[in-house]
Amino acid sequence: MTLSAARVGVRVPGRDLLTEVSLEVAGGEVVALVGPNGAGKSTLLRVLAGGLRPDDGTVSLDGDALTSLSLGALAKRRAVLSQELEVAFDFNVLDLVLLGRSPHDVLETPRGRAAAMAALEEVGLATHAALPVTSLSGGERQRAHLARVFCQLGFADRELEGRPGRYLLLDEPVSQQDPAHQLSVMEHVRGVAARGVGVLVVLHDLDLAAASCDRLAVLAEGRVAASGPPSSVLEPALLERVFGVEAHVDRAPWEDGPPRVSFRRVTTKGSSRY
């Protein structure tokens, strides 16, 4: 049971966005996709989501080519949280979350509403259910959309949660969250994975990725530079090569803590112009 990209390539005129990228996400695991700006993280996420057809290679969901699945069938099995979402009209928060139920319910059902409320409860927005989306802060809006994609995966719906082969793709889900909410969002994501969902999450914060994900895949210039458990991937030499800055890795000050990374701009003798 995996969502996997095999030797995927994406090109735009004059530039290769992805080259021979292979990546697998298994049910129940949380994989972080990290890398510098422009490395191709969002592009890879879109390819895995089925929103962008790769020029080379294939993407398959539990063995079926993504292209062989209908949009409706796909929507029942994987949910996507993109960056920079804008809702055209002033829906209230509960209605926004209910949109996540549309692959499962033809019409709105009490079960769907209960699930949507539970998802809002999970992300701490239950009291905001009746508010218009535009009245929320950026961080709250992001969490409302998170509740929507949880709902799409059958969150709090006993019948839907039992299904194997569900995947969640998150593009920088904590970009607008304060430190406390960053941790709680990742905790919710872990909770979803604990119910069998395979999660791929684009993150910029390597410490957060190391602390909350099973595996890290490092993308650099459209290629996978490294992939594996956080402690083996977060090596100073690799980080310096990929991010172009001086890196130092130590451990959190508690036992078996995840690796922690500190960065410093590379300073070579005579390079300072100040």
């Binding site: 993109s82 979402l85 009209f89 829906f91 209230n92 549309s102 701490g124 009746a130 508010l131 218009p132």
Partner: protein, 355 residues
Amino acid sequence: MTARSVVGVRPARSPWRIGLALVGVLVLLMLIGVSVGAVSIAPGRILALLLEPLGVADGRLSDAERAIFWSVRMPRVLMGVLVGGALGGAGAAVQGLFRNPLADPGLVGVSAGSALGAALTIVLGGAFLASLPSWVRPAVLPLAAFVGGALVTVLVLRLGAPRGRAAGLTVLLAGVAVNALVGAFVGLLSHVASDAELRDLTFWTLGGLSGATWQKLAFVAPWILGVLVLLPRLGRQLDLLALGDTEAGYLGLRVARLRVHVVAAISISVGAAFAAAGLVGFVGLVVPHLVRLLVGPRHGALIPLSALFGGALLVGADAVARTIIAPAELPVGLLTASLGAPFFLYLLRREVRVP
């Protein structure tokens, strides 16, 4: 954790309750619509007139009253309900389709196409019309307007969405370009038109319900009612589209197919409305906005309630148009545009306000 209280939230109003209120307003305005005009019919007589065909005789009714009520006022008011309903419902759908509260059914080319059909008939159809049997002649202009609206819409879809890969922006841009092109043709036709033809064309463009007959009503009702029954079923899909094409696709929506369905439906209902009443402007733009303020943006409720509101608005506006300079009457499109345009500007100022 920010603990924001739920106090101060607009109360969630039930769409059913608002629908019921709108039906009430519509019926009231229809009653006013059949009673006012050059000859007014007292409200008490209307019931008698309605009951007479059912066998309840009322000796006080005159033949003139019967004729005005059944041949002039009733078809006119019913036409107002249909045309306003078509425009209101289509406006709600087209705004959802383009994710833009300032979109108007005319954007997809229906109004320009209808105008071209009408202009061709009025300016170049003289000899052709004369060759037709007299009972066919009144049907030619509406038919030409209807077909013109449909054809230009197909053209917009073809150009803006090749092979069904409809992107919202390209359809919109194709609509703008085709509208300009078709507008130039209509301009050319009005340039070569005689004074009388030009006057006919201008009046048609202003829109009005004065030509309403039972035949016309029978011609447009199936199209408009059919579309108004089907459109709300696309409501949930239009709701998904509010998230954008990509996100809606992730939720299983076949965006390009929805776009074709909605545009086709609109070209049918609005084309029929324009065919019967000319280019009644701004109803499709303004009405969905007001209804959205009342019931929120969910299209399943927004589309039917916008249709009801549009019907009520047009019947009301027509009653005003008939009485304000009686015994003459204003083209109702003039009234809706002169009320609609300032409202549009007000909306524009609100939309561009930095949040």
